[in-house]
């Protein structure tokens, strides 16, 4: 029970510290937030001089900043507004950041969850098979292939796929998340086109990801097969299928949990480049447009949401871990 309280506390602290971090980043803009805002407004809007009072109201509206107040009060406003879901106004798009996020988030989540599930699914199965056929040509060859695939960055794979498959062979769509002109509905064509557009981005994440998982799984499984209780189980007449799944498979997957958590953060981060290559309208893509347009409120908002999503996923994984592995003991030894 105490473990759960500690983990939730930790997650809250992480999210808060990230919000504060963005607050500091915004304040450390070259030349301060105010004249940055003025420059932005001048550039996008009517180009007329903006009075100080008007600027202050805009600052509050766009970036939850309350210039002129003492630093701590500003921080308080900044954080409380975020917690109430008001992530400020995007300058570039002129609409509240939160609405952009609501529009973009499902796409990114769809892309990432499928990639993570596929990467781990393929990785675990391949790793287990490699362990069972340890030393055979299949094992050595797939180890080399996994090592090679694992050393290809996902965006390089993405570029290659786009170049070869969608342009040269023009088989799969090069960009976008759904064929233009189709309105959102659960009709077969709409969903079919979503899948068709999603194949390449997911493939580039999965192809370069499963290698690492397979190697990790293989290492654990080989160690597990050497354990004595496997031999005892075999002697007890337990079917080798059950041994493969319930003994070797189950116990070899557990150490992959930390790798699973790290890869959640990695994949969310990776979506930025991936969505740009495929012009896929997800959170990453909007983050990138925000960056190129120096649209700070949008950037900060999306960054915080991405972090929050990652933190929640990891918290969930952490809590379910103790259910799966009864040996989990979180004691820390006495100090020396």
């Amino acid at each position: 029970m105490r473990y759960i309280v500690r983990r939730v506390g930790q997650a809250v602290i992480t999210i808060l510290s990230v919000i504060v971090l963005t607050f500091l980043l915004v304040r450390s803009l070259p030349g301060g937030p105010m004249d940055y805002l003025r420059a932005q407004l001048m550039q996008n809007r009517t180009g007329r001089q903006v009075s100080m009072a008007e600027l202050q109201s805009l600052a509050r509206e766009y970036m939850n900043l309350h210039p002129g107040e003492p630093i701590w009060v500003q921080l308080y406003y900044y954080v409380s507004s975020f917690l109430q879901g008001d992530l400020g106004q995007s300058i570039w798009f002129g609409e509240p950041v939160s609405s952009i996020i609501v529009k973009a988030a499902p796409w990114t989540l769809f892309l990432l969850t499928t990639s993570i599930i596929l990467t781990f699914g393929i990785g675990i199965v391949l790793g287990a098979v490699m362990a069972y056929k340890e030393g055979s040509w299949f094992d050595t060859s797939s180890t080399v292939v996994s090592m090679f695939l694992n050393s290809v960055p996902y965006f390089v794979a993405a570029l290659l796929f786009v170049y070869v498959i969608s342009i040269q062979f023009s088989m799969l769509p090069q960009s976008g998340n759904v064929a233009p002109g189709l309105e959102a509905s659960f009709s077969l064509t709409y969903i079919g086109s979503i899948l068709e557009h999603a194949i390449l981005p997911i493939a580039s994440l999965v192809v370069t990801g499963f290698g690492g998982i397979a190697l990790g799984m293989r290492g654990n499984a080989v160690k597990e097969i050497g354990e004595e209780y496997i031999r005892v189980a075999h002697l007890r007449g337990i079917s080798s299928r059950r041994i493969a799944i319930r003994y070797v498979g189950r116990n070899a997957v557990l150490p992959l949990y930390t790798q699973f958590m790290i890869s959640i953060g990695f994949m969310f981060g990776g979506s930025v480049i991936l969505e740009q290559i495929f012009a896929y309208p997800g959170l990453g893509n909007y983050l990138l447009t925000g960056i190129t347009a120096r649209d700070y409120p949008l950037m900060m908002g999306i960054f915080i949401i991405i972090t929050a999503a990652v933190v929640l996923c990891i918290l969930f994984a952490d809590l379910t871990y103790s259910k799966i592995d009864p040996r989990v003991s979180t004691g820390s030894g006495e100090s020396y």
Partner: protein, 352 residues
Amino acid sequence: MQAETKHKFDVDDPIFEVRNASVTFDMERGESKVMDSIDIDVDRGEILGVVGESGSGKSMFASALLDAVPKPGVLSGEIQYYPEDGEPVDLLDQSESEIKEIRWEEISMVFQGAMSSFNPTMTIGDHFEETLQAHGRDISEGMEYADELLSELYLEADQVLGSYPHELSGGMKQRALLALSLLLEPEVLVMDEPTAALDLLMQRSIIELIRDIGEERDLTIVFITHDLPLVANLADRIGVLYAFEFVEVGPAYDILTDSKHPYTRALLNSTPNLDTPREEMRPIEGKSPDPVNVPAGCSYHPRCPLSDENCVQNDPPFQSDDGDTDHQAKCHYIEQTRREIPLNLQEVEYSE
């Protein structure tokens, strides 16, 4: 292969008949014989103690009895198993499914490391149910029998069955493993150093439990250990293993008071014991043999005080100088051993 009529060491109703069983491993340093053509019989219902130092091939002997020699070891020779009802069966040429029927239903095994014999992510109860299921037994009836077994071993059944392996103490795990091995009411129980990792008091208590269960269920028990005194008053007969073969086999009482092989005597003299005076305790010099190049002739000659040309040349067969065939040793000079190597047990005057 004509089954030899005369059973070894006057065993009249053998449950096991082992004929030149050997296990060979081919390591880069050459082919190593970890079990060197062993001939022995195990009587039905007896407790046979098998004693040998670490590295003498005793664990291999245990695995051979279940035809479960770990890869890349190769088991050769012939092990006849005589079930209570039904005709004898040679374990070595059983198909995978046939051997599966025999393992745990007829012959089951208790391993040394109870710690690592249970799957850490499964409760003890799961192990029991899983075994019953694998052998097509009725679960509820089986679990009732398991409760009975566990309480007979001084364990609260539901508390043990519900907990995970890491939640039990060493002694409890060992007894749970013992109960698991008796779950399908086997006829033979092979135990490889079952109590080595436990406290002395727990060891002795478990030995007593094994003795009672053995008698009650008319079990044949093959008890393997490096600790001679531990098995001294449990076993009916004792076989001493040295350099991957039996060098002396006989009734426990004769082995203890009047052993015929110099190695057994050295083993007895080197075991700390309450009664024997401390001055006579002497360790065994030299190193245990290497399986790749087992010395020619008698394998003990490098460490034996009586060894001479004859020992170095030819390997002595099993013999006994006083004619009783149930107590024999592989040594050319048995009467000399008895005369010249004193057993410090003999001089002790009984204190109480």
